[in-house]
């Protein structure tokens, strides 16, 4: 036993794990994830989700070696999160209202919805709404949920097969939660009553 208190065998075991993460990422995993991608559900092609998905795509674009918002299933994650029974309804209302405000602004300015804008127009309009407190809060909330979709446990619908963890060479902890132990199932009955 060395001063570090960890045996060589255990240490090599950890090296192997880290090594394999680094070696097989990014292109191969990303390519296989994209080829396995499920056809997108109907709700995703309708507002408010359509616009939300486009905003997320702008905030987290895909590249050859970088998973984008659709690779991390950011929209699915957001939908699961704001529609679960333990989440305050206020958040969902705010997210949806924001979509309305955004599209009103783009209609006014470009005579089309956000989804139809080019990349520079998208950047300009999002930076413009960042100037207002409500716009800033809305973007900040979407960004928070995006980062959660990237790095929360896959059981919540984002980060499929740990794609976000692999991209950032992040080693998750074990055991990971099964579906029946997700956070909203563990929250107390008292909590449920208030939310009902």
């Amino acid at each position: 036993m060395t001063e570090s208190g960890i045996s060589r065998r255990e240490f090599l075991g950890q090296l192997t794990l880290l090594g394999s993460l680094a070696a097989c990422y990014p292109a191969a995993i990303l390519a296989s994830t994209r080829s396995e991608a499920q056809p997108s559900p109907a709700w995703l092609n309708q507002d408010p989700w359509k616009t939300i998905a486009e905003v997320q795509q702008h905030m987290f674009p895909a590249a050859k070696d970088t998973p984008g918002a659709s690779d991390i299933q950011a929209t699915v994650y957001l939908r699961n999160t704001i529609q679960n029974p333990a989440t305050d309804g206020e958040n969902q209302e705010f997210v949806f209202n924001g979509v309305g405000w955004l599209n009103e602004l783009t209609q006014d300015q470009y005579q089309q919805g956000f989804a139809a804008l080019d990349e520079q127009q998208r950047e300009d309009v999002l930076r413009k709404i960042e100037q207002s407190q409500a716009g800033r809060n809305w973007l900040s909330l979407l960004l928070t949920y995006l980062l959660e979709a990237l790095l929360a446990d896959p059981v919540y619908g984002g980060n499929p097969n740990g794609i976000g963890w692999k991209w950032l060479q992040h080693q998750p902890g074990y055991p990971t939660p099964p579906e029946d132990k997700s956070w909203y199932k563990l929250a107390t009955p008292v909590h449920y009553q208030r939310k009902a």
Partner: protein, 559 residues
């Protein structure tokens, strides 16, 4: 007269667990009332959302909050509800309390901590007081915690080692991260004495508790293996197994009713459905963590206790303690290392387990001679990836970052360097500006007044913190760290809280007697960290456990 139970314990954390176990094992009937749910090891996963980003182990702040009173820029004390500020002062409301979520970093106090006033003299503006017991009085129970709770470690010859009655810890140390030996080397080159940090974590299985599985996700997380020595896994499960201890989760005690003679007769509580229930017992033991214990005493008025239980001398809630000091960190860039070294630094799982107590006492002319110092502990950056990523959400001009720049920052943050942290623990001097009271306007979801906490600190605490920080930075420099940054402040760490119900010999200046029984209520004891007149310069949990076992033995003798 017959009672529902011999003993009613309110709160199921490190203060309540030892009492429930000791008395149930001794043949007495015990009920434990816990405000939160009864989660088991099988409910705990390495889920950052559950542990740290949603209200699962602690209440929603809109349901239950505190009012935190701080100085504004004009020098006035101004209160703000935590439901407004988002500054959460809950630490774990479920069976086992916050001990479920500790990282189990355990130190004993030192003999001098029991007599801070006589050892170092008074400090203007601070209410320093000696304890009514000595280190020797508590030592047998510190030792008992090592086996009852399970503490792993390795005794080393050290100039500041506290006396112990056994040769070494009952469990060998946890596996150590490779960076630990680098820390030790740097410290020794600086003439310092690195200490292996003891942990309340099993390194061998014991009953249904398995040995640590080294997931690398310990602090803030509930333990899935049972290795962590929280009160639930280590004590309460055993208490329940005696058949004489009943735990009632979702039981929020809002008052202790007392009779015409001043004795406590019932604990009244709201159950999960919000219905009022009550339980009677011969002895009541309060252990709700310092802030809530003072709140409950102040809320419990009665014919003999117009200002609240145990509050005849108006001392309840006074001299609340946090832990002073601060923290710092430095980066170790993988690009400056060989591949093998970089892989070593990336190891996740084992504990860093290195501390320094070379400045537990400081003798320096620039600080006016010999004063009380503190402890320095090293750790890696917390592995939570979402909270880490969130640090990249805003740029220096307070604008949101998205798109390629965000992705580049994340990639760099996660893959280019390791990040070593240190934490400094110093005494939080007791003052008239740090206390608990009932708020006059804010109420929780049960319509009972919430605790108002004034969080003033003493300037002396910062002086000590800065002194130790200067030395901590040298250790990181010696190790070759880049981008070293640190922060010493008077902002209270809400997870390190004690005081509010001092024990002492003088009923005019303390709430509890030396056995932690209320001076003015014969059948009421307090066994969480509230009893501490001064806090020492280490985390409180081992001392709370030890004292609760000591008091449990006193209660057993009295029954």
């Amino acid at each position: 007269m017959s009672y529902d139970f011999d003993v009613c314990v309110i709160g199921s954390g490190a203060g309540g667990g030892p009492v429930a176990l000791t008395l149930a094992e001794a043949g007495y009937s015990v009920v434990v009332l816990e405000k939160g749910p009864w989660l088991q090891a099988a409910d705990f996963y390495k889920d950052e959302l559950a542990c740290c980003r949603r209200s699962v182990y602690t209440p929603e702040l809109s349901d239950e909050q505190h009012v935190i009173e701080d100085l504004d820029s004009a020098g006035d004390w101004v209160g703000e509800a935590t439901s407004e500020s988002g500054w959460d002062f809950w630490n774990g409301n479920c069976v086992g309390g916050s001990s479920n979520f500790m990282s189990g970093f355990f130190y004993r106090l030192k003999p001098e901590d029991f007599r801070l006033l006589s050892e170092f003299g008074p400090i203007a503006g601070a209410n320093i007081s000696d304890w009514p017991i000595d280190y020797e009085d508590l030592e047998p129970w510190y030792t008992r915690v090592e086996t009852e709770v399970g503490i792993s470690g390795r005794c080393v010859d050290h100039p500041l080692a506290e006396p112990r009655s056994t040769a070494d810890f009952p469990y060998p140390p946890t596996q150590e991260h490779p960076v630990s030996s680098h820390i030790s080397d740097a410290c020794r080159e600086l003439g310092l004495h690195p200490l292996p940090t003891p942990r309340a974590i099993l390194t061998k299985s014991r009953g249904i508790r398995r040995s640590c599985e080294y997931s690398g996700y310990c602090g803030s997380y509930g333990c899935s293996s049972g290795a962590k020595g929280g009160a639930r896994a280590a004590l309460l499960d055993r208490a329940v197994a005696t058949g004489r201890c009943e735990i009632r989760p979702h039981s929020k005690v809002y008052t202790l009713a007392s009779d015409a003679k001043g004795k406590v007769v019932t604990a009244e509580y709201f159950d999960a459905a919000g219905q009022v229930q009550n339980v009677d017992a011969k002895i009541f033991v309060l252990a709700c963590q310092a802030i809530e214990t003072s709140r409950l005493l102040l809320s419990s008025t009665g014919p003999k206790h117009a200002n609240g239980l145990a509050n005849r001398s108006d001392q309840v809630g006074k001299n609340l303690l946090f832990s002073a000091g601060g923290s710092g960190s430095g980066d170790f860039d993988y690009a400056r290392m060989s591949d093998a070294e970089a892989q070593t630094m990336k190891t996740r799982g084992p504990f860093v387990n290195r501390g320094l107590q070379d400045w537990y006492f400081i003798n320096d002319k620039s600080l006016g001679g010999r004063i009380k110092g503190g402890t320095l502990d090293f750790l890696l950056r917390h592995p939570n990836p979402i909270s880490k990523a969130m640090s990249e959400k805003w740029d220096d001009n307070d604008r949101l970052v998205w798109g390629r720049p965000l992705q580049r920052h994340l990639k760099s943050l996660f893959t280019e360097s390791q990040y070593l942290r240190y934490e400094i623990f110093c005494d939080w001097l007791p003052t008239d500006n740090c206390f608990v009271d009932l708020d006059r306007t804010v109420r929780d979801k049960w319509q009972t007044p919430v605790a108002k906490v004034r969080i003033g600190y003493h300037e002396h605490d910062l002086k000590v913190g800065h002194y130790i920080n200067k030395h901590a930075i040298r250790v990181l420099e010696k190790m070759g760290a880049q981008n070293i940054r640190s922060n010493i402040s008077g902002s209270p760490p809400q997870n390190l809280v004690a005081g509010g119900c001092r024990f002492g010999k003088d009923p005019a200046r303390s709430v509890l007697d030396p056995d932690c029984r209320a001076h003015d209520v014969d059948n009421l004891y307090v066994t969480d960290g509230s009893f501490m007149p001064t806090g020492g310069s280490v985390p409180y949990t081992w001392t709370i456990y030890a004292n609760a076992f000591r008091v449990a033995d006193r209660i057993k003798d009295s029954l």
